[in-house]
C-alpha cells in the first residue's frame, strides 16, 4: 500500500491534481482512497461528479463519533475511487487541525485506510500540528509538494519541506519527501525554476503539469480531466504522474532553503 499526501499553497491546484491522479490510478486498476483534508471539502468533487459528500466532521458533530459508520462517509466515485471528505469548522472558529486528527482516528478505527494507494489532499500550508498530523503519525509516507513558479507558492512548499525535515528526525516517523509537482501558471522559465528548487532541497521534479484550458472545462462539467477528456495531452500528463508515483522509490529528507536562498533562486530565474 502506498500512502501519499499532496501539500502546497492554497489554490495551487492540489485538489485538481489529487483527483486526476486518483482517477488515473483507479483507471489503471488500482484500488484508491482519496481523503480530502480541507474544511472546504471539495477535494473529491470532480470524482463524485459534483455530488457533495457528507463530511466526517459534520456527521461527528450531528451524531457523535460512535454513531458514524464507514458507509456514511465513504462514497465511490469515478474509476472506483473511494472518496472521503474530512470537513471542518466554519472559517474563523474552532480548530480545523484538530478536526484532521479526529478524522484520521475515526477512519483508522473503522478500517477505512486500506487501498493500493491512499491519496491525502491536505489544506494549504502546514499551518499547525493538526495539518502535519498525516505526516507525523505515519499516514502520509510519501509527500509531494505541489507548487507553481510563484515565490509564495515556493515559499509554502519550502515550509512544508521544513516540516518534513523536522518530523524525519523522530525515530518513529516514516514520512519522506517524494518529489515536487509543478502545476504551472504559465510563467517564463517556470519549469526550470521549480526543477532548480526541487534539486536545491534535495529532491526532484516528478511532473510538470502545464496550464491547459481543458482543466477548467472538465471542472465546469464536474469531471476529472481523465474522464472528461481521456485522450487529451493533459490526461496523458496525469497518467504519467500516476505511473511515476507508483514506481517512485526515490524518497528523501529535504534540506529546506533559507529565505535568502529561496529569494535568490527565484531571482535567478526571473527576467527583470
Amino acid at each position: 500500500m502506498k500512502q501519499i499526501a499532496l501539500y502546497g499553497k492554497g489554490g495551487i491546484g492540489k485538489s485538481t491534481t489529487s483527483a486526476n491522479l486518483s482517477a488515473a490510478l483507479g483507471e489503471g486498476g488500482r484500488s484508491v482512497l482519496q481523503v480530502g483534508c480541507d474544511p472546504k471539502h471539495d477535494s473529491t468533487r470532480m470524482l463524485m461528479h459534483g455530488e457533495p459528500l457528507p463530511t466526517v466532521l459534520d456527521l461527528v458533530r450531528e451524531r457523535g463519533a460512535a454513531n458514524v459508520a464507514l458507509e456514511d462517509v465513504v462514497r465511490t466515485g469515478y474509476a472506483g475511487v473511494r472518496c472521503v471528505e474530512a470537513g471542518g469548522p466554519e472559517p474563523g472558529i474552532g480548530c480545523a487541525g484538530r478536526g484532521i486528527i479526529a478524522t484520521f482516528q475515526l477512519l483508522e478505527e473503522r478500517g477505512a485506510l486500506e487501498a493500493d494507494v491512499i491519496v491525502y489532499d491536505v489544506l494549504g500550508d502546514v499551518v499547525c500540528g493538526g495539518f502535519a498530523m498525516p505526516m507525523r503519525e505515519g499516514y502520509a509516507e510519501e509527500v509531494y509538494l505541489v507548487s507553481s513558479g510563484e515565490l509564495m507558492s515556493l515559499y509554502a512548499a519550502n515550509n512544508i519541506a521544513k516540516a518534513i525535515a523536522r518530523l524525519a528526525e523522530r525515530p518513529r516517523c516514516r514520512c519522506r519527501l517524494a518529489g515536487v509537482i509543478l502545476n504551472a501558471k504559465g510563467m517564463e522559465r517556470e519549469e526550470e525554476l521549480v526543477r532548480a528548487f526541487a534539486d536545491a532541497i534535495g529532491s526532484r521534479l516528478v511532473a510538470a503539469i502545464p496550464r491547459d484550458r481543458v482543466v477548467q472545462l472538465a471542472e465546469l462539467h464536474r469531471r476529472t480531466v481523465i474522464e472528461y477528456a481521456p485522450d487529451s495531452a493533459q490526461a496523458g500528463v496525469y497518467r504519467r504522474l500516476a505511473n511515476d508515483v507508483l514506481e517512485n522509490t526515490d524518497l528523501s529528507i529535504p534540506r529546506p532553503l533559507t529565505q535568502d536562498e529561496l529569494e535568490s533562486l527565484a531571482l535567478e530565474y526571473t527576467t527583470l
Partner: protein, 343 residues
C-alpha cells in the same frame, strides 16, 4: 519553584490562572460561575476551591458550571456550548454570571466576550483565564477583579446611609484568615467611626459592586494590586491604602493614613489603638527575655519581639512567622499566642 515537596511549600496562591480567577468569581455571593472548558479542567480547580472552603464550617458552596468542552467543540468552536451554559446559568437567577475561559478555549479562539454580549437578563463578566498564556494564580485573580470592576461601572449605585465608603480590594479568598483580617480592619476603621462598605470581592452580592465607583477609600490587600486599582472606574484621585497593615507601627500608620485620606483627625484613634496594643503586649509579658530567631525579611516581627523585650538572634529558638503575615493588632495577638505555645 521549590524542590521541597512538603505541603508547607505548596501555597494555595500558586498555580493556574483559572484557579486565581475562580477564587474571585466564586466569592460573588449571588453569582454563578461557568468554566468554559473541559469538565476535567473545571473539576481540578473546583476541587481545590472546595477543599479550601471545607476549612470554614458553614461556608457557602458556590454555584459552578462547566460547559464540558469536548473534541467536537474544539474542532467546531465552543461558543454554542458556552451560549447554552449561559442560558442554564441564568435559570439559577443569579445576580451575575462569570465566564472563565480555559487554555483550550483560548487556543481555539472562542470569542467569549461576543457570546456574553448577547442580550441577557443577567450581567455577564468574562475573564480570560487560559494558564498557557504565561500567567499564574495572581494574574487570574487580578483579571477577575478587573472584570468585576468594569461591571461595577455599569451598575447603579445602591442607596446607602450617609458616610464615606471604604472598600477592601482583593482579599485573598483562599486564605484561612481572610475573614479575621477583614474583621480586624473593620475594628480599626471603627475607631474612626467608619465601616467597611464594600468587600471587593468576598461574599459580595452583585448589586453592591455598584458602590465601587462611589468609593472614598480603597484599602488594597497588597501593594501589588495598586496598578490594577489605578484602572478602576473610581472617581479621580480616590485614595488607596496599598496593603493591609502588618506590625505595630504599620497598624497605627493605617489609622493615620485612613484618617488623612478622608479628612478625619485620627489622633484619638491612634492613641486608643496604641493603648490597646500595649494591653495586648502585656498579656504576653511572659515571653519577655526569650531568645528567638526569625526569618530575615520579617522586620515587623522583630518590632514585636523588641516591644516585648525578647532577644532576636540566629542562635535563638526558631519561631514561625506566617505567610501571609498577620494583619493588625489582632493578628499580632494570634501570633504571640502561637509563639507562647512554643516557648
Amino acid at each position: 519553584m521549590s524542590l521541597n515537596p512538603s505541603l508547607s511549600n505548596t501555597p494555595r496562591s500558586d498555580g493556574c490562572t483559572l484557579a486565581g480567577a475562580l477564587s474571585v468569581a466564586s466569592a460573588v455571593a449571588d453569582g454563578v460561575t461557568i468554566v468554559h472548558g473541559p469538565s476535567g479542567c473545571s473539576h481540578h480547580h473546583v476541587s481545590l476551591l472546595l477543599t479550601a472552603l471545607l476549612d470554614r464550617p458553614g461556608a457557602r458552596l458556590p454555584v459552578l458550571l462547566s460547559d464540558d468542552l469536548g473534541e467536537t467543540e474544539v474542532i467546531f468552536g465552543g461558543e454554542d456550548a458556552l451560549d447554552e451554559a449561559l442560558d442554564e446559568a441564568a435559570t439559577h437567577s443569579p445576580g451575575s454570571i462569570a465566564v472563565l475561559s480555559t487554555c483550550v478555549a483560548e487556543a481555539i479562539g472562542d470569542d467569549c466576550a461576543a457570546v456574553a454580549e448577547r442580550v441577557r437578563s443577567v450581567p455577564v463578566v468574562v475573564v480570560p483565564a487560559g494558564g498557557f498564556l504565561g500567567g499564574g494564580f495572581y494574574e487570574g485573580e487580578r483579571a477577575a477583579l478587573g472584570a468585576y470592576a468594569a461591571l461595577s461601572a455599569r451598575l447603579p449605585a445602591p442607596d446607602l446611609d450617609e458616610g464615606p465608603v471604604v472598600a477592601l480590594v482583593g482579599e485573598k479568598n483562599l486564605e484561612y484568615e481572610a475573614d479575621s483580617h477583614a474583621a480586624e480592619l473593620g475594628r480599626l476603621l471603627g475607631r474612626l467611626d467608619l465601616e467597611i462598605g464594600l468587600r471587593f470581592v468576598r461574599e459580595t452580592p452583585t448589586a453592591l459592586f455598584g458602590l465601587l465607583p462611589k468609593a472614598d477609600l480603597l484599602v488594597l490587600r497588597e501593594p501589588g494590586l495598586g496598578t490594577l486599582a489605578d484602572r478602576f472606574p473610581v472617581r479621580p484621585r480616590t485614595p488607596h491604602i496599598r496593603g493591609f497593615p502588618v506590625g505595630l507601627t504599620a497598624t497605627l500608620a493605617f489609622l493615620l493614613n485612613a484618617g488623612r485620606a478622608l479628612g478625619l483627625d485620627a489622633t484619638a484613634a491612634c492613641e486608643a489603638e496604641a493603648a490597646h496594643q500595649d494591653a495586648v503586649l502585656a498579656r504576653f509579658g511572659g515571653l519577655s527575655g526569650s531568645r528567638i530567631s526569625l526569618p530575615a525579611a520579617s522586620r515587623w516581627a522583630v518590632e514585636v519581639a523588641d516591644a516585648l523585650g525578647m532577644t532576636v538572634h540566629p542562635s535563638g529558638l526558631p519561631v514561625p512567622v506566617p505567610d501571609p503575615a498577620p494583619v493588625g493588632t489582632a493578628g499580632i495577638a494570634r501570633l504571640l499566642a502561637r509563639w507562647g505555645r512554643l516557648l
